[in-house]
């Protein structure tokens, strides 16, 4: 099997107060899986993403990519992290090389930024900058896509279109993806597998495989089936009339209370 294997990954923070952020995470993600990592703020989602991306090296345990070469990562940080003095197009070409200008323009069009190629990041809205950051991650044709809350500050309609873009991209490329989100319905719509990080414990609370998400997008009934399944797995999902509005933090703190 090729893919990403984490064994015994643990990470302690000394600041501001000493605490275990992650404890003994064992996880293997096969090539082509779309995994959503769900959990409330402070559960260690971003820390785990940073460890996988190689940005956080102060951890124990190992992260290995079982393939012939080092993986190419496409990361979308929570903040856009665009270079302020480079135009949007130049920001994309910074990571891919100038020979990919045509593809970069195409991707910018897909994230609805056609016409903003020559703008500086500071001239765009926060949501537009985040979409540029997503296009940048897709441009490198990553082996592993690591979006950290990529849709968080987008309005509902736009978030919907971006979800569809992520879904289309995954269907076309079958890129191994680890999406960090606190939004369960977003996870349910997009993933083949949902991981839930339990708040405060730094452990995986649930690991739930789902059928491929091809027909699931915008299908409310299918999403509620997924949420039902999650509820079964975690034994403690609070009943709700509108699973769409179900937010992980409240649901999980509730769940943790009954655990």
């Amino acid at each position: 099997m090729t893919g990403l294997v984490l064994s015994g990954v643990a990470r302690d923070f000394a600041e501001p107060t000493p605490r275990h952020v992650l404890r003994g995470i064992d996880l293997s993600i096969a090539q082509g899986e779309f995994v959503s990592l769900v959990g409330p703020s402070g559960a260690g989602k971003t820390t785990l993403l940073r460890i996988i991306a190689g940005l956080d090296t102060h951890h124990t345990g190992s992260v290995t990519w079982q393939a012939t070469r080092r993986p190419r990562f496409g990361i979308v940080f929570q903040e856009p992290r665009l270079v302020p003095w480079l135009t949007i197009l130049d920001n994309l070409l910074l990571v891919s090389g100038p020979e990919n200008a045509a593809r970069a323009r195409g991707l910018l069009a897909e994230v609805e930024l056609a016409g903003s190629e020559d703008a500086l990041p500071g001239q765009l809205s926060g949501g537009m900058q985040r979409r540029a950051a997503l296009a940048r991650a897709l441009l490198v044709e990553p082996d592993v896509l690591l979006p950290d809350e990529p849709l968080i500050s987008l309005d509902t309609a736009l978030a919907e279109r971006m979800r569809r873009l992520l879904n289309t991209y995954w269907r076309d490329h079958r890129t191994t993806t680890l999406l960090v989100t606190h939004n369960l319905s977003e996870a349910a719509e997009l993933s083949t597998r949902i991981l839930i990080l339990s708040p405060g414990e730094g452990k995986l609370m649930a690991d739930c495989a789902l059928p491929p998400p091809d027909p699931r997008l915008r299908n409310d009934r299918a999403v509620s089936v997924v949420l039902e399944e999650l509820r079964r797995v975690t034994h403690a999902w609070p009943p709700s009339d509108s699973p769409e509005k179900q937010d992980a933090p409240s649901a999980l703190s509730h769940a943790a209370g009954r655990y």
Partner: protein, 259 residues
């Protein structure tokens, strides 16, 4: 009253104010020269310009000013290059900084005259020794300023380039150097002022040409008018560099901030 003042044509543009200030300085000089009444001690502005014109006609003025400017340019370029490299390395590596920051303090406090004398003693009264002496004097200043700029580099952007595996040369030219531009400009300004003053002394001590050499020659003849004429010509050259090279460069580098 205020309406009247506003209506009076006493509001000049910035250019007129500068011209007025220059004329005042010339008037003060003329007044002082009249008061001293000894052209050997303080020649009038007119006598100075006449001496300068004579030197210009003989071809001496442009030759010596040119030689000096060439030395300034070479020493300045070398010091900027070496100093920036040292500054970037020390700013990025805390260990190297701990080891070598003491050396930097010694370099910053080394009297310029000592380096000049030592260079001339060790390498002879040669061009290389002269350039080396000036360069050594300026390198620590540049390194110290660039080190501060490097310490303030944007860490999130650097992480982004790290995850995407951007080529180091591209990281340097597109991400690091633009952030260092203000420090480099500050180092260039501080450095240029320092360099040309030191170059004159180096020429005075051990070169057969250049403005410094000419000033020593005129000093031997107590030709104050020619000394002042050379000083003015050189000041004009340095102001021209500031106005036509450094300031446009500064504006160009800072363009994205105003976007």
């Amino acid at each position: 009253m205020s309406r009247l003042a506003g209506a009076l044509p006493i509001r000049f543009g910035a250019g007129w104010n500068r011209l007025l200030s220059l004329i005042t300085l010339l008037a003060l000089w003329q007044a002082a020269a009249t008061l001293v009444a000894d052209p050997g001690l303080l020649p009038s502005p007119f006598a100075t310009f006449r001496a300068g014109y004579a030197e210009l006609m003989r071809g001496e003025l442009l030759f010596h000013v040119g030689i000096t400017l060439a030395r300034v340019a070479v020493a300045f370029a070398l010091a900027m290059l070496i100093g920036s490299a040292i500054g970037i390395v020390l700013g990025r590596s805390p260990v190297l900084d701990q080891i070598f920051s003491g050396w930097l303090v010694i370099g910053l406090n080394l009297p310029a005259l000592v380096t000049m004398v030592l260079c001339y003693v060790w390498f002879g009264l040669t061009e290389v020794a002269a350039i080396l002496a000036v360069t050594i004097n300026k390198v620590p200043t540049v390194a110290a300023i660039v080190r501060e700029g490097t310490r303030a580099l944007d860490r999130p952007l650097f992480e982004m380039t790290q995850v995407f595996g951007v080529k180091p040369i591209r990281v340097l030219t597109r991400v690091i150097l633009p952030q260092l531009a203000p420090s480099l400009m500050a180092a260039a300004r501080a450095g240029l002022a320092l360099t040309w003053k030191i170059v004159l002394v180096v020429e005075l001590l051990g070169r057969p040409n250049g403005v410094g050499f000419q000033i020593r020659t005129f000093f031997n003849y107590f030709d104050i008018a020619s000394i002042l004429a050379y000083s003015l010509a050189f000041i004009a050259a340095v102001i021209a560099i500031e106005a036509f090279v450094l300031q446009p460069l500064d504006r160009r580098l800072g363009r994205w901030r105003r976007a």
